[in-house]
Amino acid sequence: DVKVTQSSRYLVKRTGEKVFLECVQDMDHENMFWYRQDPGLGLRLIYFSYDVKMKEKGDIPEGYSVSREKKERFSLILESASTNQTSMYLCASTQGTYPPGEQYFGPGTRLTVT
């Protein structure tokens, strides 16, 4: 059974804190993604990675950074958390390159910044 796991289901942090969200996949997928989901806005892509140590900006990268030191692990970093980063964060992975293939999602991390 393929799996994408995220380090926390719920997280509460204070404004200004550095926040790490971890994602691990066990499918040996090349490509990994971080999305955020907000009511009325749907899912929006923050960053993605198509290889170890490679990263690309998505549609809303401001205020975020990522790290991919190992193929199975993709971390999202909020350098200085702000209240407007309160959201549901979803990690996904896929093996496909072209055309776009099925993405496998983790259960999500609901982050609240106070």
Binding site: Y35, G96, Y98, G101
Partner: protein
């Protein structure tokens, strides 16, 4: 970037009835995917339809694609309470799969017992 837009935003039907959701997108695609999200959880892939396909079935799901109208529909037949969820269509952000998907805002489906 491309964007799928689902219609309606919310749908409430009785158990046993059929549910139909629609999706429109803006640019040419290689394929279109549908996902389901149960409340507060991650997304689960339901079905993928290629641009050269017009219809695809998977169990109680039927997806159609009309590339001339840039639209797709998802039909769930004989609905069950467990089908209560949000449904999203998604297309590639560009041509390749390595740069992620663009999702619509979703249709929230409620199945009344």
């Amino acid at each position: 970037s491309q964007q799928g837009e689902e219609d309606p935003q919310a749908l409430s039907i009785q158990e046993g009835e059929n549910a139909t959701m629609n999706c429109s997108y803006k640019t040419s695609i290689n394929n279109l995917q549908w996902y389901r999200q149960n409340s507060g959880r991650g997304l689960v892939h339901l079905i993928l339809i290629r641009s050269n396909e017009r219809e695809k079935h998977s169990g109680r799901l039927r997806v159609t694609l009309d590339t001339s109208k840039k639209s797709s529909s998802l039909l769930i037949t004989a609905s069950r309470a467990a089908d209560t969820a949000s449904y999203f269509c998604a297309t590639g952000r560009s041509g390749g799969g390595a740069d992620g998907l663009t999702f619509g805002k979703g249709t929230h489906l409620i199945i009344q017992p």
